[in-house]
């Protein structure tokens, strides 16, 4: 993918390449269909996978193997769904509540209320639930609710489901309501709908699914990470299925297609990475109502081609106003909306990372990057240790926390050590994917925003190694990245602090110790499932009777969705912080283009490595070569600076150094 030179992400600058995409689809079709014909029909009746667990697999490793696996997974899903109606109804992820979607309320008189009528709708639904047949003791309640587009999604106890669905068609403030069981990925696809869609062939859901799989495979380009759904109306397979014979099947087709896509993956990371580009060009779309589920299936999409459709204004795309937060390329050429004077401004506002709109560059990479820039320049971690106590502790701590928590507790925690954890369930994250459930932690979480009662605040603070052990034994197994091998994934700051309690009683007015702040990520191992999470963990170490004469006084852990480590990567090149007047901020000197922590002491980094990094930075500064070439020059000359410099001058004079040996702008 080449984003340079004002071309689109697929390197296209004119219509010709775009045609290319389609041409490719046509030329490869035989192959792809052939593939499918061979695979289809195999792998039946294995295992059971309910729809609720959205079985997914696919797309690593060699293509053929992937394809087999994809088909396999789909076949499994199809078979199990065809077998058992019950699976369909189980719905969302083993939750004990049922979700129901309600539509039509936006047309009611209540919709003009300040809250859009949501409150009166809840009141209305609860009242109806209670009056219809309230023999069942407890009062019916809408436990949770949210708005999704024009649907209002409510969660209710399973026993209320039937009653709720019976209210379909009830009139609310002058508008009839449509009430259906909600499905998170399709907004209401069910068995009936799949059957309905296969009007020409065998009216079975399985058959429809396998046809959809064929269509998806034909239109998916793994190498390019492209799903080409353009000109669906001309697709002979879809025409043969009779998808476009009625508006009802037409509207259900796309959500179903997305659902079938989802079913290919049981690993959300793989699913996330499988597609970067989607084309929905030439589909006569007047708005996104029918295709809105695209945003749920591909939340991290980078390139979206919607050209040659009938979108008239921003309103026809409004459902995607807050979606696709990583969109870089958007094509709406050939739509009436493109001619709107506010078109460009609106799209720039909607999509902060948008770089190309209708094949024209609208933001440079620098402009996108500068949005992320913080007014507080990002500097290397401040790590001010004392006799390597902090460094040794951190190394031992995370290794021990992963492998043997009891030993760790015996080693450095004592009767007064305090531990507590809190979960930030809403933290920003890098990718817009679902975060694994916080169930293993949430009952222990001491988020003081939410835990307001004193007894709960007390019981969620764990004092003494014994209590901490009991708690840690209930927490999932973890695997933190190796600090030495992946220093960039960690950010560790440390400095000495005074005023700590002295268990020996010799310094009644307090002793010194270390305050250590660690930010990073870990894998959580839950049986076969591995979840990625981020954490912030602050320790206070003081003198004590533990290993190395220290004890952990405090250990506070904050857990959050995976947020990556981009945030602490040094901005490149390092710019001087804006500083009028006396400089209260003292930036540390870091060479350009050095990765975070490079040339800086860090826990786990051997001295030799540190020296070599510092030499590398020195020669890089002198020669203008990249760190990589600088390191090559040094290592090739036995890490002798003078020899390396001499060698550099010779090679440079002979013109033997390629341009990419130099930092940009250095030559």
């Amino acid at each position: 993918m080449n984003m340079k030179g004002g071309k689109g992400p697929r390197g296209r600058s004119s219509g010709s390449t775009r045609g290319g995409i389609r041409k490719r689809g046509a030329t490869k079709r035989v192959d792809r269909d052939g593939d499918l014909a061979m695979d289809a029909g195999s792998a039946q009746g294995r295992g059971k996978k309910g729809r609720g667990d959205s079985s997914r697999s696919v797309a690593t490793g060699p293509r053929a193997q992937t394809r087999d696996r994809a088909l396999d997974a789909i076949q499994k899903a199809i078979t199990s769904n065809a077998d058992s109606q019950a699976n369909i109804r189980q719905g969302g992820r083993g939750s004990s509540l049922e979700q129901v979607s309600i539509r039509g309320w936006k047309q009611s008189k209540a919709a003009s209320n300040r809250d859009g009528g949501v409150e009166s709708l809840i009141a209305f639904l609860e009242k109806k639930l209670n009056t219809s047949d309230s023999k069942a003791g407890s009062r019916a309640k809408i436990t949770k609710s949210r708005v999704e587009g024009d649907a209002f999604i409510v969660s209710i106890r399973p026993e209320l489901l039937e009653r709720m669905l019976k209210m379909n068609g009830f009139s609310f403030a002058g508008a009839p309501l449509t009430i259906q069981l909600y499905d998170p990925s399709t907004n209401g696809m069910d068995q009936t709908m799949l059957s309905e869609m296969s009007q020409n062939g065998t009216p079975s859901a399985a058959d429809t699914k396998s046809k959809m799989t064929t269509i998806l495979r034909k239109r998916y380009y793994q190498q390019e990470k492209l799903l080409n759904l353009s000109k669906l109306g001309n697709d002979p397979d879809l025409l043969a299925m009779g998808i476009f014979n009625s508006t009802s099947t037409e509207s259900k087709f796309f959500p179903a297609l997305m659902k079938v896509w989802d079913m290919n993956f049981d690993n959300s990371t793989v699913r996330r990475e499988a597609v970067e580009s989607v084309s929905l060009a030439d589909n006569q779309l007047a708005n996104i109502a029918v295709i809105t589920t695209l945003a749920q299936t591909f939340p991290d999409l980078k390139n979206l081609d919607l050209s040659n459709n009938n979108f008239k204004d921003s309103q026809s795309l409004i459902g995607w106003r807050w979606k696709f937060r990583n969109l870089e390329f958007l094509d709406l050429t050939g739509t009436p909306y493109s001619a709107d004077p506010s078109f460009k401004d609106t799209m720039l506002k909607w999509y902060p990372k948008l770089r190309f709109l209708n094949n024209t560059e609208v933001r440079t990479a620098e402009e996108v990057a500068s949005q992320k820039k913080t007014p507080i320049p990002v500097q290397a971690p401040h790590f001010q240790d004392e006799s390597q106590i902090g460094e040794n502790f951190i190394k031992a701590f995370f290794a021990g926390y992963d492998s043997n928590r009891t030993d760790l507790l015996n080693g450095v925690y004592d009767g007064n050590s305090t531990f507590s954890l809190n979960v930030n369930t809403a933290a920003p994250r890098v990718l817009q994917t679902e975060t694994a459930s916080w169930d293993p932690y949430i009952k222990k979480s001491r988020n003081l925003l939410k835990i307001n009662h004193l007894p709960a605040r007390m019981s969620r603070s764990y004092v003494g190694a014994e209590k901490i052990r009991d708690l840690w034994n209930t927490l999932p197994q973890t695997r933190h990245p190796d600090i030495g091998a992946h220093p960039e994934e960690w950010l560790i700051e440390c400095f000495p602090i005074p005023g700590l309690p002295d268990p020996s009683g010799q310094s009644p007015t307090g002793v010194g110790g270390l305050l250590i702040m660690v930010h990073g990520k870990f894998e959580e191992i839950n049986g076969p499932k591995v979840e990625l999470r981020s954490f912030d963990r602050t320790f206070i170490l003081g003198p004590g009777g533990g290993m190395g004469g220290i004890r952990v006084i405090n250990d506070v852990l904050c857990l959050r969705a995976h947020g990556g480590h981009e945030a602490w990567k040094l901005e490149q090149p390092i710019v001087q912080p804006i500083q009028p007047g006396p400089p209260p901020v003292q930036p540390q000197t870091v060479p350009p283009a050095a990765p975070n922590g490079y040339g800086m002491p860090a826990p786990g980094k051997p001295d030799v490595q540190l020296q070599q990094e510092q030499l590398t930075m020195e020669i890089s500064a002198k020669t203008g070569m990249t760190l990589q070439y600088s390191e090559m020059a040094l290592s090739g000359n036995g890490w002798n600076m003078d020899a390396a410099l001499k060698n550099f001058e010779e090679l440079k004079a002979q013109g033997q150094l390629p341009p990419d040996a130099f930092l940009s702008g250095a030559v």
Partner: protein
Amino acid sequence: MAPPSEDALTKVSTDAATEFVQSFYPALQSNRETISSFYNQTICMILFNGNVVADGQAVQEIFVNQMPPAHYEIQSFDCQIINQAYPTPTATGLKAPNETTLKDKSILVLVSGYVQFGESRDVPQRGFSETFVLVPNPSADGPKGKCKREWLIESQTFRLVV
């Protein structure tokens, strides 16, 4: 004096942290000329993204003069007592453990949330993690002034993490 009950310790520390978090971040947002009043005279360390800042006055100057408008959203925070008998300075020197009261504590506070720099709602939410050590305000006991804060920042480490 009997040692304070666990109830009392929890109450005093969590109230202190709550009060602090709920007044400090709004001040960063819209009351920047009061920022220095949150800081202790003696500062152990103040770090913003690895930048060392000298004291509360310097933090205030940065926020008043250099920082664009910012919207802070606290999503989670927790606290722990560090020293139950913190040697609060008095006119006659540091308090000895037998002189300390329920208020002579140092408190560790860990905050997790996001910040949006700039006025627009469309700018990205940047996740941050911030650690504070709070100590008692030695002059908070006195009768003067209504704006006396009970707890002051002795050290602060701010990091953008997302």
